[in-house]
Symmetry: T
Subunit: 148 residues, 12 copies
Amino acid sequence: MKAVHVINGPNLNLLGTREPATYGTLTLAGIEARIAARCAQEGIDLVFRQSNHEGDLVDWIQEAGAAGAGVVLNAGAYTHTSIALHDAIRGSGAQVVEVHLSNVHARESFRHASTLSSVAIGVILGFGALSYDLALEALISLSKSKKS
Amino acid sequence: MKAVHVINGPNLNLLGTREPATYGTLTLAGIEARIAARCAQEGIDLVFRQSNHEGDLVDWIQEAGAAGAGVVLNAGAYTHTSIALHDAIRGSGAQVVEVHLSNVHARESFRHASTLSSVAIGVILGFGALSYDLALEALISLSKSKKS
Amino acid sequence: MKAVHVINGPNLNLLGTREPATYGTLTLAGIEARIAARCAQEGIDLVFRQSNHEGDLVDWIQEAGAAGAGVVLNAGAYTHTSIALHDAIRGSGAQVVEVHLSNVHARESFRHASTLSSVAIGVILGFGALSYDLALEALISLSKSKKS
Amino acid sequence: MKAVHVINGPNLNLLGTREPATYGTLTLAGIEARIAARCAQEGIDLVFRQSNHEGDLVDWIQEAGAAGAGVVLNAGAYTHTSIALHDAIRGSGAQVVEVHLSNVHARESFRHASTLSSVAIGVILGFGALSYDLALEALISLSKSKKS
Amino acid sequence: MKAVHVINGPNLNLLGTREPATYGTLTLAGIEARIAARCAQEGIDLVFRQSNHEGDLVDWIQEAGAAGAGVVLNAGAYTHTSIALHDAIRGSGAQVVEVHLSNVHARESFRHASTLSSVAIGVILGFGALSYDLALEALISLSKSKKS
Amino acid sequence: MKAVHVINGPNLNLLGTREPATYGTLTLAGIEARIAARCAQEGIDLVFRQSNHEGDLVDWIQEAGAAGAGVVLNAGAYTHTSIALHDAIRGSGAQVVEVHLSNVHARESFRHASTLSSVAIGVILGFGALSYDLALEALISLSKSKKS
Amino acid sequence: MKAVHVINGPNLNLLGTREPATYGTLTLAGIEARIAARCAQEGIDLVFRQSNHEGDLVDWIQEAGAAGAGVVLNAGAYTHTSIALHDAIRGSGAQVVEVHLSNVHARESFRHASTLSSVAIGVILGFGALSYDLALEALISLSKSKKS
Amino acid sequence: MKAVHVINGPNLNLLGTREPATYGTLTLAGIEARIAARCAQEGIDLVFRQSNHEGDLVDWIQEAGAAGAGVVLNAGAYTHTSIALHDAIRGSGAQVVEVHLSNVHARESFRHASTLSSVAIGVILGFGALSYDLALEALISLSKSKKS
Amino acid sequence: MKAVHVINGPNLNLLGTREPATYGTLTLAGIEARIAARCAQEGIDLVFRQSNHEGDLVDWIQEAGAAGAGVVLNAGAYTHTSIALHDAIRGSGAQVVEVHLSNVHARESFRHASTLSSVAIGVILGFGALSYDLALEALISLSKSKKS
Amino acid sequence: MKAVHVINGPNLNLLGTREPATYGTLTLAGIEARIAARCAQEGIDLVFRQSNHEGDLVDWIQEAGAAGAGVVLNAGAYTHTSIALHDAIRGSGAQVVEVHLSNVHARESFRHASTLSSVAIGVILGFGALSYDLALEALISLSKSKKS
Amino acid sequence: MKAVHVINGPNLNLLGTREPATYGTLTLAGIEARIAARCAQEGIDLVFRQSNHEGDLVDWIQEAGAAGAGVVLNAGAYTHTSIALHDAIRGSGAQVVEVHLSNVHARESFRHASTLSSVAIGVILGFGALSYDLALEALISLSKSKKS
Amino acid sequence: MKAVHVINGPNLNLLGTREPATYGTLTLAGIEARIAARCAQEGIDLVFRQSNHEGDLVDWIQEAGAAGAGVVLNAGAYTHTSIALHDAIRGSGAQVVEVHLSNVHARESFRHASTLSSVAIGVILGFGALSYDLALEALISLSKSKKS
């Protein structure tokens, strides 16, 4: 695994930018920094992106699949409704770990279902920024076990 | 409230441009003119936009929330399915009045549910262009009552 | 439009009479006063009523329809279950604007559906007493546009 | 069977009183006259009533049951939701024929279910005023076959 | 109306032929005799048929529609599932009164829905053989009122 | 707790008045007598009422809430459908124990759900008249434990 | 039990006639031979039939019921939708054992429900031709235990 | 592909025979003529049939499968409920193109589901008689591409 | 019909570009070539497009509608969820034939429903690239029959 | 009634043992003490048990049924899913009063249904430890009324 | 097949021990005796067990699977809810015949579904103790046909 | 965090013990060894357990909660149905990470829902034994971040 693409969906750009006293100061840039540091350590190229457009996420999954990169995907609200992303993962052969910052199962019922999980390698959710770290470790670990 | 953003979703650009004998001559530009006149009267800046892209609507809600503007939102077909817009309203703190030209409850059942209403201040629907006027009055009235 | 009938359903008589520190001091009489003032301005007769009986609401809708009056209807809990009120609106030809004080879509799911909306002109909800004011403006505006 | 009680529910008082060119000139009084004539012929006392109040219908079913009268019941909109009427029929032992003027199965789906049918003797629907006539014939015929 | 076709569906041939002590002695032939007598009185030709085959019922509905005959239809079990019969009634223009011997709404829930009711003139159910008599009276009465 | 209001819904007036050999001789008056005796013992004022009208029950719940009385509520058939009663309990702050004579869960499925239970203190059902006695004991016991 | 009727529904005539390398060589004639041998042993008359017509199956169930024969019924696809067969079994008093060659519960979900099971004596499924053998043994065994 | 079997289900025999001013003059014979002409051109034998009996359609699918013929199937109302036809297609190995004259998805919701589509090669619907033409072209085209 | 717009939705750009040994070598460019050849023959202008963005598809449908072009639409995953595309077809008056390469009814259940079919002329699915060819023939044929 | 068995299900052993400041100090031992005192008064033997194992609860219900003891059953989480406990109550003939400490209807929806209520004598819920006291009084009262 | 394990679930130990006049005198021991006799005849070891604990049944299925024994499983109430038993059968490779004494499809609807059937060889139900006998015959027969 | 309890539910003891050529050689003991090594490194006590009994899992969750241990929970089949485990986690205050070896969302639909996720810290699934490793890292990481 030469590269990891971290793909973030709608409204994740808002993270930590509003009322930090209430919602915490964690920002998407902060998450990117943590992931970048770990990637550097392992000599992995990192592409870290965010968009509010479902079509952008589809484009990027296809790109990652074509590049043979591992993918950490937090599709935000599109997690629950996007068949296009489901097809992009399956069609492009991208190796995807689905992550969520919050425990979606402790929130509204419309957040409990994911159209993506069935075509992901696995799912990690509920650990905040740590969800991303663990997903990266999972990709690294799986990559190493394939080589051996 | 220094500004109002009126955000229009998919296919609202078609309004009044096709078969006026049948569908009436009301255009989105006509609605904008009415709203602009009233805003001018109150010294409120107006941003009036339309897009067929869900992602644009998410971007614009975030922008309005950041600017502290009041929002009149007619999300068209995305009203019924978009969790991304729901999250954008909640995440950006935008003060949104949901409007619809037609009485959606007198149309197909798939138009009866809205993913947006629960995070809007309120909903006004069924009055044609007047729905927009009333929404603007509501924002002005709420804004004045907060000041006092 | 010579007259407006404002018809209030079950438990709206409790408004503002209990624990004002918690629930606010808005009373149904207060709403009536606001509406009466505006009607006086426009030379419109006002009938303002409340009942806990579904049958009374049906009787009053029929009466308003027969009188050719505009109707502002807050049917309270009967909004969600009453087919009798649905039929009264349709059968009497009453011109009804459905209103709600609270944003019913931000409350329990059994308050999300309305049997009345499909036969109302339109719906205005979530703005407190302002919902009634806007409904009155809608009726006045629609009445004037018919004349012209 | 000494008496027949014909009990009519909400909005049936509107029958024929509005836009006769469109909806026909059949009135509830007209139906009563037809039924009264036939009852006179058979020497049966007739009680013919209408109310928009569910509670009145419950009271009247109980009264009919206590009097041992046959009942022709057109419960209108309460047909589809009233468990109280269901219980009144069962609890009072009233012999009820459920009727409807229109073919409710050719209308909106919320008119397809009846809470009353399972405790009625039978159901007759779709024949206009003739539905009432046939229901009366059914009660007379059943009454005679019991005597024999 | 020169003719009436009475069409009976599956298992109605079993009527009264088994354990009369328990199920009563009413037979389909008995019903036919009653209907035939009344038709003779009115000078109406009678076709009275029974089949366990859904296709036969479709054939016969088409035949009745082509002949301009009134139809009394007890489709038995096919009442609850047959879209083919629904289409036959609609496609052939047959004037159909749906009947049932028993009160189907007091039986298993899978007998509560009918695919036929929405394309019938009306429905009469629960009165035993009397259901057929009443259906015939309805057809005669409707036929006479059309002539006048 | 100075007073207890026992509020009975539709068809409970029929109790014990019909076919006592079959249904038992328990009447609503008999239940009232038992409750009255126990209230007298405790020096509690008793209001004991029955109505077939949903609106009356709403009125009476509001009255009991305003009076600070404890409420024993057997809403009969309205238990399963009335949002108006739900709102009356919540809006009036009435302290309500929901009771049923029969075990509603051993009856038809449409009697299994209650719109009232979630806003009652508790529910007691299935013990016949004893359900009322136990509800009264519950109110007395809770009232005493609050004082201490 | 003097006779057993084995009744086979739609497409069972295809058994073993197509691509035997893939689907096996078991034919309906083969099953008949096994059943016939065992019947001969017990002195039981055998009627063994197949049809693709639901109406034929209804006719044959009625015939078997009238003859007091035991029935082994593999209704094929009609198992899942036929209320007519349900009624034929109940109405004719036929003693039916429902069988299936395959384990229908390990196949598509639309094969999991049977309209017939509730009126059969019992069900045997999943054992291939052995299902028929076991059904015959069950009928023989039950018949003998009745005699004793 | 030496032969094509065109199999038509219930009520398609009514096509064009009733009120041509309203429903058009297209008849099943007309469709057959068009298909026959094209088949002749390609040297393909044509079998063109219609029945109101589900069992006949099952028989004919089996026959077509055994003959290795291509099948154009318009199963009419049985499209939506017949598992027997589903099994016949799968069991016989028939190569079936499902067609519909009308756009079933623009009609009642009970016409939206098909039990047959999943075992057909493909589906063509909404083009009137042209649906049949296109289905024939599809079969010819697929047949030629197999040969090559 | 001077022009045909062929509009392809998400992930159709992946067609044939990945693991051709497994998935076949058919590419979107290949489909375009076939369609272009046929259009050239008929003197029809061809616009052939693909996007992963729902909004682009809405824009393009509007454009085609305004141009009076015939449309072949394979909306991919958006077929199953997009009300915006439904509205675009209806609002723009575009003449649309819905196509799918695969037989969607033989795949996952979430691919069985289409929000688009009810506003398309017709649907063709399951024939691979041939689906596009047949859709083009349908548009040509319909266009010619209109002229005549 | 010589004995009462109080049977407590999963997690009731946690009662009052954790964070008493938040959850109160009521323990299962405290409830047992209250019940034991009252039983002693009436000369009733008390068996008071708790288990987290569904099978233990089944064993104990059987034991109580065999002993002819009255049962107070708080099955905790198994209330909502256990058919085994339902069968144990019915099969053993145990006289069971179902109790709950909390008002389960004011909690998550998965706690609203009980598999046990339909085979219990009655249900008492929402009164905390008082629920147990009332259940015991109910058993004593019912026992005495049987003797008399 | 050297051994058969007959595994019985909750409440089957109650069989025949209570009110024999009503429920019959068949006991689990009686069933065991019949099975034991037949096993002895065939030289098959028999393990015959019952437990009210789901976990015991899982343990025993695993044990039987490890031993390569045939299994007759009557899981009682756990039949309808236990995914653990489903997994035990699949995971252990046990060859299981599911049996039921009663015809579960003629009882409450919650007894109609089985989580086990899809991983059993087959199902036999409704024949009382004979269900066990037939299941044993099935296992013997299948075992013999494998050897040959 | 002084201790970690790893709790394994039904059938996980079968892991790797059957047909290793097919299912892999990973055993529960192998997972324990990996976890034990990492715990030793961090000086964390490890309790590693498996049971097929739901009640045991409840007991152990309570024990872990009382001990203040972190919990890695793979509840196997009980994940999908156990409210008792849900309550144990919430009632005991145990800090639980839910894990699954397989990607449950890529398996049968009855494995998609979890009653446990909403009361877990987070969920990790689909990575085989690595799921356990990642869960342990999550607990360690969360524990360290609390200290700091």
